[in-house]
Amino acid sequence: MVDATHRAGGVIPPAEVPELELYHPKSWWTTYVFSQDAKVIAIQYAGTAMAIGLVALMLSWLIRLQLGFPGTFDFITPDAYYQFVTMHGMIMVIYLLTALFLGGFGNYLIPLMVGARDMVFPYANMLSYWIYLLAVLVLVASFFVPGGPTGAGWTLYPPQALLNGTPGGQELGIILMLVSLILFIIGFTMGGLNYVVTVLQGRTRGMTLMRMPLTVWGIFTATVMALLAFPALFVACVMMLFDRVLGTSFFMPALVEMGELTSHGGGSPILFQHLFWFFGHPEVYIVALPAFGIVSDLISTHARKNIFGYRMMVWAIVIIGALSFVVWAHHMYVSGMHPLFGFFFATTTLIIAVPTAIKVYNWILTLWRGDIHLTLPMLFALAFIVTFLNGGLTGLFLGNVVVDVPLSDTMFVVAHFHMVMGVAPILVIFGAIYHWYPKITGRMLNQQLGLFHFWVTFVGAYAIFFPMHYLGLVGAPRRYPELGGTAFIPESVADLNAFISITAFVVGFAQLVFLFNLIWSLRYGKEAGPNPWRATTLEWQTPTTPPPHGNWGDERPVVYRWAYDYSVPGAPQDFIPQNDPWPDKPLTRPA
């Protein structure tokens, strides 16, 4: 046998040095509030994200009230409607999904899955959360300032975002929005550096890159993308803030507003669109890649089969990450571009579908002849696959210029992006919570409530968003509070809108059941034990559940295999944990 005490190149990775002292917090405050433990930070991130996500959910009810029953609710003025839509979109995309996947799951899972004791820079990690919280508070504050939050649409396009006619445009709303985004980006960068460097440097012995669970690959790649894409939003926000506060004209063209010439001149709104979508499209994959990774692990674990084509899955993640930086202008087909540009961006958009399709095939081939357990995480993972496929197919439609031009700014687009980046990632988040809740709390979530939650959410989401494709095809525009007497829109659209709205309330209610389940199971859930799903990855092999600060006992685990050894012929169990040397004897640490 090879000499196991040999150290490659004489280098001791710094994270190998156990500094257990570091992991003994001194007081209640540093344990639960100003904690530097990635797991506590993860829960703080997730809690804050879900709280603000609840606000976005309630805003969607208000939107639906207006769309389903126009003219019934006096308090939903057109201005208020625009504010609801804007805040709903922005919160869902940035403050809920991005924060929950990277700040929440990233923080909880990366150190545990790669066998580290914590993130490499715990202090910066803690700061990251507190800046995120500040960003959320600034955002919430905009609801309470005179004029209310901005109503510019989540894309914040100038010039209208800064004009009088737009809610919050000449008041505080837009300023708070921009400040909040800038804070979010600063906070995220601190966290993001941690996630990336922990994966690069903090892995335990034997955990080579190609043995990392796909969850880690997904979050890692998404974080790298976010680190490179968020600066574009940062630049756009800073320049827009200057336009609004200091009177510059980066984006603001010369225009006449209410009979008066504004002080701006010559600026380029298209420049903003380029910057925004240079961030905006990668953002879709920043949300999708962690979902891809998590779903791969859920499917493999709950079908008791190794993931099909692990290498291909890793490559696909990386290639999607790189390609998604050269497709941004497919969001700008209607803003007037050179036809050759349109052709270029349509082509890159369609090319990205190839690695994405490979992933879908691989999930299905993983399921093929698997020992599928229809547990809650598995149900959500299956629901994700169909939903993502659905959204991906309409994406192929919209990626083509000629099809996009008539469909742009109709409800078809709303249907598409809700399927692909609204419903699909949210389903993964639910699946992931049902999967990892036992590790986080030591208890299982209630199965009956979970099944109720699953079926209402899954069927409901289709009932809400599927008909929107049709609405879009008949020409119902997006971002309109009321359709009024539009001649080409048939009567049935109003009925359909009412139906969608009622379903949306039901689905929203089911989310409250989920929240109740989260709290109720904390006390009354079934005891889970350390590894209820009999999974292979390291987080299930911690000596205590929930894992304490520092994660591992005296010694970090040693990894002997990849993350997907399920149903290995001849093995004593139908899974072999990553730190199990079967059929060898474990290594002993050199004295």
Binding site: P14, Q201, R203, G247, G266, H274
Partner: protein
Amino acid sequence: MSVVLVFLLVVIGFSFWWLSHQRIMSKPWLESGVHTAVPETDASGMATEKVALGVFLAVVGALFALFASAYFMRMEYSDWQAPPLPRILWLNTFVLMLASAAFSCAVRATRERHIALTRLALSAAGLGTLVFLAGQVTAWRELAAGGYFMDTNPANGFFYLMTGVHALHILGGLVALGRTTIRAWDPGAEPKRLTLGIELCAMYWHFLLLVWLGVFVLLEGWAGDLVTLCRQLLT
């Protein structure tokens, strides 16, 4: 957006080159057992702080590449009128170069455990940086005195914005430099930590010098000339 695309191409190229050295062709499903846990990880032997700084600098690079992209796109519009650049910027550039050079000296000195020289070089670098910042403020005031305000022309706006963001990064670096300097004067400090601290500062300063040179070239208008030249060559 061409500047940022070129920048991204470099980052992605580097990442792929790095990945290609990470045994991405291995077949993890075939390897298991004790002998595979022996080269403990493929984590690099480089100090974690250096890796982190490297990643951070990529983010800073993306930020400035985006500013440059925006600059080029905005420049095309007819109202663009570049302000005359204050002469003092040349001096500032020179001073920042000196500070960078001082950091190189400091790195060499601390590696040789030459503590007196290390302290001298660190002080020189700190001083040079402060002079640079003071020089930048002077440049701002000169421009403002000449009537070139932020809102009079987008070119002026870009000038204040880019020099300002660059100065903010330098200020952040000064915090790190302050901590390292304190350590250099602390007789109980561990020499390895000190060396690492100085190396990190040096890396950061060299990078910010590079960024400044880029910004300077852009603001001077040479970059625009270069682009026109390239275009003429191409057509």
